[in-house]
């Protein structure tokens, strides 16, 4: 069948069973939009800014097991998308971004809305393509989906010049992809897995440290099974939250810069560490020298060999898909039944650390504590909401006080730390899960970075709950300035804030401003229960000087925590 390039693009998306396409039209993609108009299999979601298109596709991908797809035009369409692409790249989220490009004869001539999209995005994509011949479109899109979702996932961009979308050729969608230069290792090395099992059997102070790779590999069940068989403590990174049930007694909380006392102490003083789909990030272990000063054996399972021994030297590297490796490891463990007594002294130590109750905060009847809002939200939603966040203090409080028992419920920009991510990401989540409660925990700073998406939410009737912890400050910046810059709050106070409830109303939603602690629960109930089917913007006026504890200062060692009780 002879089709135009634009028809081929749309047919490819249909072949890939793309449910939603997040995008924004423009000159270079007009032929593609014309073909979208003529069909109803791929549903297009019109965002209000291209950054949001990519974040929405990202939220969709994180909350499902599918590839998120976005479509943007050339020039500013592509540059606006870059923040979204980099966000997905840092967190290894599978996306396919299709960008329009000026017609091939105009490339390189500084044409209207021309930018070197492949060049600009190169450092923040898993791979990208410039399609120069209509005959290559189908094979390229097939490859893009394959590369995005296999191995360590990531965003893949396909740049298509306008004239190519008008040219015609025979359309055949390839059934499979084979790339001689790209063959990710899935199965772990058996000898290494045996070595790992042996170390785990002998461990006296074992620790399991699980990251976003467990979520990406859909291996929560395997992780939980293995951890229970071993009876070892488990910690999650920010990206790994939900991969192990937070309510389980073996869970010691999140670790890292704002991790729990017990998680950070156990991570530091363990003798055998099983790292699963995590990368010893600077926000997780702090200073690697300090971390490595304490002797321990490290087993590291990761699909990306370059993640292994990057910041911390590893003793037993296992390259492979986390799920497959965990399954094989569990078989070896179950065959030989570990002795739970091995770690009993270690558990006593951990329980002593737990006794510090590092997550306690001073409540108040006068002013709303941000932590209290998150705790109440957990109660009102039964701990089963999808929670997207922006970046800053609110993000950490959401991570600390909303215990996730299931994977893919927690959607946050961990690697890049992108303010403005939450609301558009929640749109993608809500579309993927129309009947589930979806919340954005945000702040008055972050929400204003993509607030225009309230309009998209109206158009597609997305009943997202915006839970804004409004402290009138760029809270995390203010906290660092308080701790490390002599209380000089340089440009971190937000003056002239709008009435957010009225903004929500202006966009056709509901808005509630909450100022008293006694009104918190009622407002949450109104949003999540009474007005379940509406978008409700909850503007919580919270304590403006509250800090996130515990805290490991940037560059310090993991055990050098500032605790709330120290102050």
């Amino acid at each position: 069948m002879v089709l135009t390039g634009a028809e081929i693009v749309v047919r490819c998306l249909q072949e890939e069973k793309v449910e939603y396409l997040f995008g924004y039209p423009g000159g270079a993609v007009l032929f593609i939009y014309d073909e979208l108009f003529k069909q109803d299999k791929v549903r297009h979601v019109l965002v209000r800014h291209e950054q949001a298109a990519v974040h929405a596709a990202d939220g969709y991908a994180r909350s499902t097991e599918s590839v998120g797809v976005a479509l943007v035009t050339s020039g500013p369409g592509a540059t606006n998308a870059v923040t979204g692409i980099a966000t997905a790249y840092m967190d290894s989220i599978p996306l396919v971004i299709i960008s329009g490009q000026v017609p091939t004869p105009a490339i390189g001539l500084d044409a209207f809305q021309e930018v070197d999209t492949v060049g600009i995005t190169r450092p923040c994509v898993k791979h990208n393509f410039l399609v120069k011949d209509v005959k290559d479109i189908a094979a390229t899109i097939k490859k893009a989906f394959y590369i995005a979702k296999t191995g360590r996932p990531g965003p893949v961009l396909v740049d298509i010049p306008k004239d190519i979308t008008a040219h015609k050729c025979e359309f055949v969608y390839p059934e499979s992809v084979s790339l001689r230069s790209y063959n990710p290792v899935v199965k772990g090395h058996h000898g290494q897995i045996k070595k790992a099992a042996q170390l785990l059997f002998e461990a006296k102070r074992p620790m399991i440290y699980a990251g976003g790779g467990v979520v990406l590999s859909n291996a929560s069940e395997q992780l939980t099974k293995l951890a229970r068989a071993l009876g070892f403590p488990v910690t999650n990174t920010l990206m790994g939250l939900g991969s192990y049930p937070a309510s389980d007694k073996q869970f010691v909380g999140m670790l890292g810069m704002h991790g729990t006392y017990e998680a950070n102490m156990s991570m530091h003083y363990c003798d055998v560490l099983l790292a699963v789909g995590a990368r010893f990030d600077d926000r997780v272990i702090g200073d690697p020298k300090h971390f490595q000063a304490e002797p321990r054996k490290i087993i590291h399972i990761d699909i990306d060999p370059s993640s292994i021994s990057k910041r911390v030297k590893v003793d037993v590297p296992i390259v492979g898909d986390v799920k497959e490796v965990l399954e094989e490891l569990a078989r070896l463990i179950e065959a030989e039944k570990p002795n739970p007594e091995n770690a009993s002294a270690w558990w006593r130590q951990i329980n002593e650390w737990r006794g510090k109750q590092c997550m306690l905060y001073k409540g108040s009847d006068e002013v709303i504590k941000p932590q209290f809002v998150v705790q109440k939200m957990w109660e009102v939603t039964g701990g089963d909401a999808f929670v997207a966040t922006d970046v800053g203090q609110h993000q950490m409080w959401a991570a600390q006080y909303y215990g996730f028992d299931k994977p893919r419920r927690w959607v946050t920009s961990g690697g890049l730390g992108t303010m403005g991510f939450g609301l558009p990401a929640a749109m993608g989540i809500q579309l993927a899960h129309p009947d589930k409660p979806v919340a954005v925990v945000t702040g008055e700073g972050s929400i204003q970075m993509c607030i225009q998406e309230l309009s998209t939410c109206k158009q597609y009737r997305l009943p997202i709950k915006v839970v804004s912890l409004n402290n009138r400050y760029l809270g995390m910046v203010r906290q660092w300035q308080e701790f490390f810059h002599g209380n000089r709050y340089s440009e971190s106070y937000m003056d002239s804030l709008p009435d957010f409830a009225k903004i929500a109303e202006a966009y056709g939603h509901r808005g509630i401003q909450v100022t008293k602690p006694s009104d918190v629960e009622g407002a949450l109930r109104e949003a999540f229960i009474t007005h379940k089917n509406d978008l409700v913007f909850l503007d919580f006026q919270v304590d403006s000087t509250e800090n996130v504890y515990p805290m490991v200062q940037g560059g310090k060692g993991l055990t050098e925590m500032i605790l709330a009780e120290d102050l």
Binding site: V118, H127, I147, S181, P305, S306, S309, K310
Partner: protein
């Protein structure tokens, strides 16, 4: 430590910039980089001379392998290998220098490939060290232009980098 890394990559536009971009983005050092197609026109062979600690070199090879268009990577300097670089050096050759430069070229097994009344172009092939030595051996003031191809290399004996 100095390492000579050799790779096979898809001969596609953009592949070179992915490699060079990787080095600049991650702060790796490039001393020289050469690239040209192989007998199979769909594939290019690249040689990179870099330096760094063992950890850095391990990361460099892993990060190179991660690039979708890179087919194979080998650190030639891990075992026996041959390296060669080509240099064309244009020198001022008048009066007694003409004789002296010709003699130096002969000692280094170079050839004079262009001659005018006042200049020579000397072609020289060898390891990086040998070319450096030649430059150091002649009078600096006589050098008009130095053009070096960058290092290329191949493993000795059975060490073969092929798909």
């Amino acid at each position: 430590m100095r390492h000579v890394i050799s790779l096979l990559l898809e001969n596609e536009s953009g592949a070179l910039s992915r490699v060079s971009g990787l080095f600049s983005a991650r702060g790796y050092n490039i001393e020289s980089l050469t690239v040209a197609p192989t007998e199979d026109a769909s594939m290019s062979r690249m040689t990179i001379v870099t330096s760094g600690s063992d950890e850095v070199i391990e990361q460099i090879t892993k990060q190179l392998n991660k690039l979708i268009e890179v087919v194979k990577v080998v650190d030639l300097s891990e075992a026996a290998y041959i390296e060669r670089e080509l240099m064309l050096i244009k020198v001022r050759a008048v009066a007694k220098d003409r004789e002296e430069l010709k003699r130096m070229a002969d000692i280094f097994r170079g050839r004079v490939v262009d001659v005018t009344d006042s200049t020579y172009v000397i072609e020289l092939t060898g390891t990086q060290d040998k070319l450096d030595s030649f430059i150091n051996a002649i009078d600096r003031a006589l050098i008009l232009e130095t053009v070096r191809s960058g290092v290329t290399g191949v493993g000795r004996g059975d060490r073969i980098l092929k798909v």
